[in-house]
């Protein structure tokens, strides 16, 4: 997609995205009609809500509250099950094919074998990419610690899903670990085509009048601008640890935020909570803001900026202004 003379398109695991902005899973991904609106609103790709082998009702309300510059949620992975999700994804692809928006199907399961089964079933819908959600922080009571908690379990899921599908997979990591880079390395070695970082940050809000946590699940996952510095740090650390592409997610709500995530090392950028402020057109607006910044600073394409923040301290950004970028655009 050419805007202001700059090329916003990126290659993610062999899939061409018209821009790097991806609707993050769990936000508005419940129906084909909604994902179509976000796609037509300017997204490069949309991700459906994570689905499991069987339908899940999720937790009772309160499941989502707004806390200052962010949201705390524990929806509990409510979804209609993978069989129904296949139909939703097929319909989403049909509605978005003429717009050129990629469709990502997100999956999760309670066991390694379950992940493989869901991946295999979901592949029938032929999504462009599959997101493997091993990092939901809100179902620990039912499912135990997320698979993203340790390198071994994260790698085991990755291997099982890779063996079950030919569609490229993005493994979504959790920030609620001591060393996210170690998990990223394990997932890369196990065959992941890309990683996504981060899922929500585990948190809690207590109402002091009620003297109890607000969410029915007690704890929840914090998203939105409140977590952006955590996400940028995690993407930065993952970029140093792996060579597969990274989808940077967490608190991005402007073109400047997206550029920051890309300079930390992300090739594509997930956007979720920002739809609260920007509606279904939020991703299109962020893409336009990115193009404005790139045009003003002499960046020709997104790959000119991926990982730029990792340059040695002796390097001066003024060299970019005379067009000395990284070379080829991919």
């Amino acid at each position: 997609m050419l805007q202001n003379g700059v090329d916003l398109s990126v290659d993610l695991c062999g899939i061409r995205l018209r821009n790097p902005l991806i609707l993050a899973s769990g936000i508005l991904g419940t129906s084909a009609a909604l994902m179509e609106r976000v796609g037509r609103g300017g997204a490069g790709a949309v991700t459906s809500k994570s689905c499991s082998p069987l339908p899940r009702a999720g937790h009772p309300n309160p499941t989502v509250i707004k806390w200052g510059p962010g949201f705390l949620n524990a929806v509990g992975l409510a979804n209609p099950g993978v069989e129904a999700q296949v139909e939703i994804l097929r319909e989403t692809r049909r509605r978005l094919v003429d717009v050129g928006v990629a469709v990502i199907g997100s999956i999760f399961a309670e066991t390694v074998e379950g992940f493989a089964r869901v991946a295999e079933t979901l592949s029938a819908a032929e999504p462009d990419l599959i997101e493997v959600n091993i990092s939901c922080p809100n179902v620990a009571h039912e499912l135990g610690a997320p698979f993203s908690s340790a390198p071994e379990s994260a790698a085991a899921v990755t291997r099982a899903v890779k063996a079950a599908t030919d569609i490229p997979i993005i493994v979504k990591l959790s920030p609620n670990v001591t060393d996210i880079a170690a998990i990223a390395r394990a997932v890369e070695e196990a065959g992941a085509d890309a990683i996504a970082a981060i899922n929500t940050v585990s948190g809690m809000v207590i109402d002091i009048e009620a003297a109890r946590p607000v969410l029915s699940n007690l704890e929840g996952g914090l998203s939105g601008p409140a977590i952006k510095p955590i996400a940028v740090r995690c993407v930065y650390q993952c970029y140093q640890a792996v060579s597969i592409p990274i989808v940077g997610i967490g608190g991005v709500s402007s073109g400047a935020d997206a550029i920051e995530m890309i300079m930390a090392g992300a090739r594509a950028v997930g956007v979720g909570s920002a739809v609260f402020w920007g509606g279904v057109e939020a991703l299109g607006r962020i893409a336009q803001e990115m193009a404005d910044f790139m045009s003003a600073h002499g960046y020709r394409c997104v790959s000119d900026m991926v990982g730029l923040a990792h340059r040695p301290s002796s390097w001066q950004p003024s060299s970019i202004e005379v067009g000395v970028a990284t070379g080829r655009c991919i």
Partner: protein, 248 residues
């Protein structure tokens, strides 16, 4: 007031119940010591700690008032509360109704009549003429007929069993009103089949209408997608949908 306190309105706020009105055997109206700048048709999320959180349509925002029928665990818990007890409220959410035209037809089916009272009060205050058509299954379940009348509305009632007003559906009452002359705009809240029938009637007559839809909700802020209806977010882009005839 500091920065952190400025965030508070986004979170559930504790409010005390200052009045409980008994509408019928299983329906009560709760009035809180909370004042919100709310529009008719907007709703709040009401949280009972340890029980659940649910969307409830407002019948007034100043003070916050809602009418609830006892139908399940949440509403049963709400009915057990007394004056002085507390509930937690966030909102108001949703777009609400727009008072338009000189003669409004307000249609309430079952508990859908609650937000209609809010619309009628605002319209009468703005010197508009209001006709209310109220339907229920039985005479005992008819709500607010006297309150609409006290506001100065023309009131027509229907019941499924004929125990009060005309026997039949609320849409039969609407048809009779439309035969006598068209209002400028129709407002309705009630069960889905009723809203669909009202929409068909208005489309046939070329009458603009504002319909308030209901769906399961989680965030109420337009991000989770739970209340989605054909790609439309009931919680944020609704719950009121306005239909206008296409000019010839």
């Amino acid at each position: 007031m500091n920065y952190v306190n400025n965030w508070r309105p986004d979170l559930p706020r504790a409010a005390r119940i200052i009045q409980i009105g008994v509408e019928n055997e299983r329906t009560r109206t709760f009035v809180l010591d909370l004042h919100l700048a709310a529009r008719p048709g907007q709703f709040v999320m009401v949280w009972l700690p340890g029980v659940e959180e649910r969307p409830l349509s407002l019948i007034a925002g100043d003070p916050v008032s809602f009418t609830v029928a006892r139908v399940g665990p949440f509403t049963t818990a709400l009915h057990q509360l007394r004056v002085g007890d507390r509930v937690w409220v966030r909102g108001p959410y949703g777009n609400g109704f727009d008072v338009r035209g000189q003669h409004l037809l307000c249609v309430g089916g079952g508990y859908g009549v609650a937000p209609m009272l809010f619309v009628a009060r605002q319209a009468i205050a703005a010197s508009r003429r209001v006709t209310a058509v109220i339907g229920a299954r039985t005479a005992a379940e008819l709500l607010f007929t006297d309150r609409f009348a006290a506001l100065g509305c023309a009131v027509i009632t229907t019941t499924d069993d004929g125990s009060a007003g005309a026997r039949g559906l609320v849409t039969d009452g609407v048809r009779r009103v439309l035969e006598q002359g068209l209002p400028d705009e129709v407002y309705a809240c009630g069960p889905r089949p009723m809203l669909e029938a009202i929409l068909r009637l208005c489309q046939a007559e070329g009458l603009p209408c504002q319909l308030s839809w209901e769906n399961k909700m989680r965030c109420a802020m337009g991000i989770c997608g739970t209340c989605e209806q054909n790609g439309w977010l009931v919680c944020r882009e609704g719950p009121v949908q306005r239909w206008v005839p296409i000019p010839p």
